[in-house]
C-alpha cells in the first residue's frame, strides 16, 4: 500500500538520509514513479521528457513539472520538494477511495492503547455521577441535569480559578477590579421576560469576555513577532521645527 511506502519514504527523507535525495538516479526514478503511479499530472504520452531520466535536459523537465503542479517549493531544497510531492501523492490516493480509510481499525486500536487512565472510566456509572455531584457541591458549581455538563463547568472553574497558572496570576494582580453592576448596563437587547433577559445578558457578557481573551492572544502574537522585527530609531539631526 502506498501509505506505508510513503511513511517509509517520508521517514527516509525526514531523517535527513541525504543518500536518497542526493543519489541522482534514485531521486529521478522516484519522481517518475510518483508521476506514473499516483500524481498523474501529465497524459502518458506527455511524460516522455520526465521519464527520460538519463537525459541532460531532465532537470529542465523537472522544473517545468513542478511549475505545472504549482509546487510552492519549486525553488526549495530537494527534501522539501520530495516531502511535498509525497504529500500530494497521499492526497490523490486518499481522494480516490476515501471510504476505505474511513475507519481504519488499526488506527483506532493504536489510540486506545495509549494508556490514559480516564479512557477506562465508565462515565455513566453511578459512582462517577455521585463523584461529580460531590465535586460540584464542594466547588459550588450549579448542577445541570446532564452530569457531564456539570463536569465541564467544574473543569472551567478549576482551570480559571484553581490551576497553578490561575493561582499565580491571582497573586500578581493587586487590583481586584470593579464588580460589574449588571442592572446598570445596557446590553442592547430588548427582551420582555426578566429571566430570559438576564440570561441573555450573561451570555452577552461571557461573549465579550471570550472576545477579550482572543484579543489578548492576538496581542501576544503581535508582541512575539515584534521581538523579531522591531528596531525603532530616531535621529534628532533630522528634526526641524517649521515656522
Amino acid at each position: 500500500m502506498l501509505t506505508s511506502n510513503k511513511k517509509e519514504a517520508i521517514k527516509v527523507v525526514k531523517s535527513g538520509d541525504t543518500v536518497f535525495v542526493h543519489n541522482e538516479k534514485q531521486f529521478r526514478s522516484t519522481i517518475v514513479w510518483l508521476e506514473d503511479q499516483k500524481v498523474r499530472r501529465y497524459k502518458i504520452e506527455d511524460r516522455e521528457s520526465l521519464r527520460n531520466t538519463t537525459a541532460e535536459q531532465w532537470n529542465q523537465a523537472f522544473e517545468q513539472y513542478l511549475k505545472d503542479l504549482d509546487c510552492p517549493f519549486a525553488n526549495g531544497s530537494r527534501p522539501e520538494i520530495v516531502d511535498w510531492l509525497l504529500g500530494l501523492a497521499v492526497q490523490f490516493e486518499f481522494n480516490e477511495k476515501p471510504e476505505s480509510y474511513a475507519s481504519s481499525p488499526k488506527i483506532q486500536q493504536q489510540t486506545s492503547q495509549q494508556s490514559n487512565p480516564l479512557d477506562n472510566l465508565d462515565f455513566e456509572s453511578e459512582d462517577f455521577q455521585v463523584g461529580v455531584v460531590e465535586l460540584a457541591n464542594l466547588l459550588q458549581v450549579p448542577r445541570h441535569p446532564d452530569h457531564l455538563m456539570t463536569l465541564e463547568g467544574i473543569c472551567n472553574v478549576i482551570q480559571e480559578k484553581l490551576s497553578q497558572d490561575a493561582l499565580k496570576e491571582a497573586l500578581k494582580t493587586k487590583n481586584p477590579g470593579n464588580p460589574v453592576q449588571f442592572e446598570n448596563i445596557s446590553f442592547g437587547l430588548d427582551i420582555k421576560s426578566p429571566n430570559v433577559s438576564s440570561a441573555a445578558n450573561v451570555l452577552r457578557y461571557l461573549f465579550i469576555h471570550d472576545l477579550r481573551d482572543l484579543q489578548t492572544k492576538i496581542n501576544e502574537c503581535l508582541v512575539c513577532v515584534q521581538a523579531l522585527t522591531a528596531n525603532p530609531k530616531t535621529d534628532t539631526k533630522l528634526g526641524k521645527v517649521g515656522f
Binding site: 452577552r204 496581542n219 530609531k233 521645527v241
Partner: protein
C-alpha cells in the same frame, strides 16, 4: 436666485430644542432634507451668518454653513439627510461638521474630496498615564520643552524618525501595522484605533510622486493650524463606569492628547483628486450647486483612485500619530526616569474626523451599504457595535473632542440614537467662529499668550504670531458644542479634560 432672509426662513423649521430642519427648496435640486444641531448660543451664530450672507446677496467668499449643508443634500446618491453638527462652519464645498452618506448600490452615487477635507484622517489620539497633576506640576516646563524637542511642529517641520522612500510605501499600505512592525507602536495601540489603524483598500500606487515627496520628511511631525499636542488633566468625570473602562480613575489624572493629521501628504492627495474629478464631472455630466463640490461617481476610475489614495493618506496619518505617541512616551519616560509601560501610557482611543468610510446603516428600515463622508465629524458608534474594540463594547465607542488652545477637551461615548439619527456621528471640536484672517485682525498674539500663562498653561509654539488664529475667541465654545450633542442624544458626555501644557506649530 437671491432671496431675503425672511424668505429663506420659510425653508427652516425647528424640529426640537436643539435641531432644525432644512426643507427642500432652500437651494435647488435637493434630493433629501438637511438637519443641523444647535443650542441657543450656537443657533445665533448660525442664523447671523445666514442673515449677513443674505444682506450681501450671497456673493463672494464662503457660503454660510446652512447653504453648504443644503448644497450637499443636492448631490447625487445621497440618502437620509445632510447633517450639520453643532460645530458646523463654512469649509471647502462641504461645511466642516457635515456628515453625508451615499448609497453604494446606486450607480449615480458620488464621492467628493471636499466631503473629507484637505487634511485627510485628521484626528485625535488620547494617551493616559498613571501620573497625577501633582506629579507633573513641578516638571511642567521641562516636560513641555521635552515634548517640543521630541515632536517637531510647524508648517515646514521635519520628523526625527529616519524613513526611506521604500519605508514610506510600506507605511502607506500598512498604516499602524507598519509602526507595529518597526517597533514604534504597542500591540494594544492598534486595538484602540479606529479601523485598527489601517484602511485595507489603501493603494500607494494611486498617489502622486509629489504627495510622497511632501510626505516623506513629515512623518512624526505635528504640523500647524489647529493641530497640537497637549498635556491634560482630568477635570470632571460624568460617567464613572465608562471612564473606568478607559482607564480613567480619578480627577487630576494626567493624559496626553495629540491632534494631527496627514500633513502635506493628505493635502496633495486631495488636491490631485480635485483636479482629476473636474474632468470626470464633465464627462459623466454630474451637476452640483457649487463648483467646490467637485466629485466623481464612486464606481468611476477617478472615484476609486481617490478612495484608494485617501486610504493611503489615512494610513499616513495613523503612522504619524503613532510616531508622535512613541516620541511622547520617550519624553515622559526620560523625565520621570521610568518606562512608558510603568507609566501606563496606553492609548485610550484614536479617532478620525476627516474621512469617508464604507459602512452599513439602516435607512428607512432597510440595511444599506453606504459611503459615509465625515468632514469635521467623528464616528460615534453605540455599544455592541461589531466595529468597536472589545473593551468598549459595553460603553460605546469613545469620541475624543479636542478643544481649542487653552480650552477644555472632552471624551464622549457613542449612542444608539446617534446611530439612528446621524449615521453614528457626532461633533469633532469647537468649530471656527471667526475666519483666520479676521482673527489675525482682531486679536493680539501677546495678549493671547499672556492669558494662557495666567491660566497656568505652559506653551511652546513655533510661530507665536499665528496663535491668535487659534485663540479661543476665534472658535465656538466647545462646551456649547458638546452639550448640544449630549442634549440631542447623539453622544454622551463622559470625561472633561483641561490642558496644563500645549505645544503647537
Amino acid at each position: 436666485m437671491v432671496r431675503t432672509y425672511d424668505d429663506e426662513m420659510k425653508f427652516l423649521e425647528r424640529l426640537s430644542p436643539c435641531s432644525w430642519r432644512i426643507k427642500k427648496g432652500f437651494v435647488p435640486n435637493m434630493n433629501v432634507e438637511g438637519i443641523f444641531y444647535v443650542n441657543n448660543n450656537l443657533e445665533d451664530l448660525m442664523f447671523d451668518e445666514l442673515r449677513n450672507a443674505c444682506a450681501q446677496g450671497l456673493v463672494g467668499g464662503f457660503l454660510p454653513g446652512m447653504k453648504q449643508i443644503a448644497n450637499v443634500a443636492a448631490l447625487p446618491g445621497i440618502v437620509g439627510r445632510s447633517i450639520g453638527l453643532p460645530d458646523v462652519h463654512s469649509g471647502y464645498g462641504f461645511a466642516i461638521g457635515n456628515v453625508a452618506a451615499f448609497d453604494m448600490d446606486d450607480p449615480n452615487s458620488i464621492v467628493s474630496p471636499g466631503g473629507v477635507g484637505f487634511d485627510i484622517n485628521c484626528g485625535v489620539r488620547l494617551l493616559r498615564t498613571n501620573l497625577t497633576e501633582k506629579d507633573v506640576q513641578p516638571f511642567k516646563e521641562q516636560l513641555t520643552q521635552s515634548m517640543f524637542d521630541h515632536i517637531p511642529v510647524g508648517v515646514g517641520s521635519k520628523g526625527v524618525i529616519p524613513i526611506t522612500a521604500q519605508d514610506l510605501e510600506e507605511a502607506l499600505e500598512m498604516g499602524v501595522d507598519w509602526s507595529l512592525r518597526e517597533g514604534y507602536a504597542w500591540a494594544e495601540d492598534k486595538e484602540h484605533c479606529e479601523e485598527f489603524g489601517r484602511m485595507l483598500n489603501a493603494d500607494p500606487s494611486k498617489v502622486s510622486l509629489r504627495a510622497k515627496k511632501r510626505g516623506l520628511p513629515q512623518l512624526g511631525t505635528l504640523g500647524a493650524g489647529n493641530h497640537y499636542a497637549e498635556i491634560q488633566v482630568v477635570d470632571e468625570i460624568y460617567d464613572k463606569w465608562a471612564a473606568n473602562k478607559m482607564g480613567i480613575e480619578h480627577k487630576g489624572q494626567v493624559c496626553i492628547m495629540i491632534h494631527s493629521g496627514s500633513r502635506g501628504f493628505g493635502h496633495q492627495v486631495a488636491t490631485d483628486a480635485l483636479n482629476s474629478m473636474d474632468k470626470a464631472m464633465k464627462r459623466d455630466k454630474i451637476v452640483t450647486n457649487d463648483r467646490q463640490l467637485a466629485c466623481a461617481r464612486i464606481s468611476s476610475t477617478e472615484g476609486q483612485d481617490y478612495l484608494k489614495g485617501m486610504a493611503a493618506a489615512a494610513n499616513f496619518a495613523w503612522v504619524n500619530r503613532a510616531s508622535m505617541t512613541f516620541l511622547c512616551r520617550q519624553a515622559f519616560a526620560k523625565q520621570f526616569n521610568s518606562t512608558p509601560d510603568d507609566l501606563d501610557m496606553h492609548v485610550i482611543y484614536d479617532v478620525s474626523h476627516n474621512i469617508a468610510k464604507v459602512e452599513q446603516h439602516t435607512v428607512d428600515g432597510k440595511l444599506k451599504t453606504l459611503l459615509v463622508h465625515r468632514k469635521g465629524s467623528t464616528r460615534a458608534f453605540p455599544p455592541h457595535h461589531p466595529l468597536i474594540p472589545v473593551d468598549y463594547q459595553l460603553t460605546g465607542q469613545p469620541v475624543l473632542i479636542g478643544g481649542t488652545m487653552g480650552t477644555c477637551s472632552y471624551i464622549l461615548t457613542g449612542t444608539e440614537q446617534g446611530m439612528v439619527e446621524t449615521f453614528g456621528s457626532t461633533c469633532h471640536g469647537a468649530g471656527r467662529a471667526l475666519s483666520r484672517a479676521k482673527s489675525r485682525r482682531n486679536l493680539d498674539y501677546t495678549e493671547v499668550l499672556e492669558r494662557l500663562k495666567e491660566q497656568g498653561i505652559s506653551i511652546r509654539v513655533a510661530s507665536p504670531k499665528l496663535v491668535m488664529e487659534e485663540a479661543p475667541e476665534s472658535y465656538k465654545n466647545v462646551t456649547d458644542v458638546v452639550d448640544t450633542c449630549h442634549a440631542a442624544g447623539i453622544s454622551k458626555k463622559t470625561v472633561k479634560l483641561r490642558p496644563i501644557a500645549v505645544i503647537k506649530g
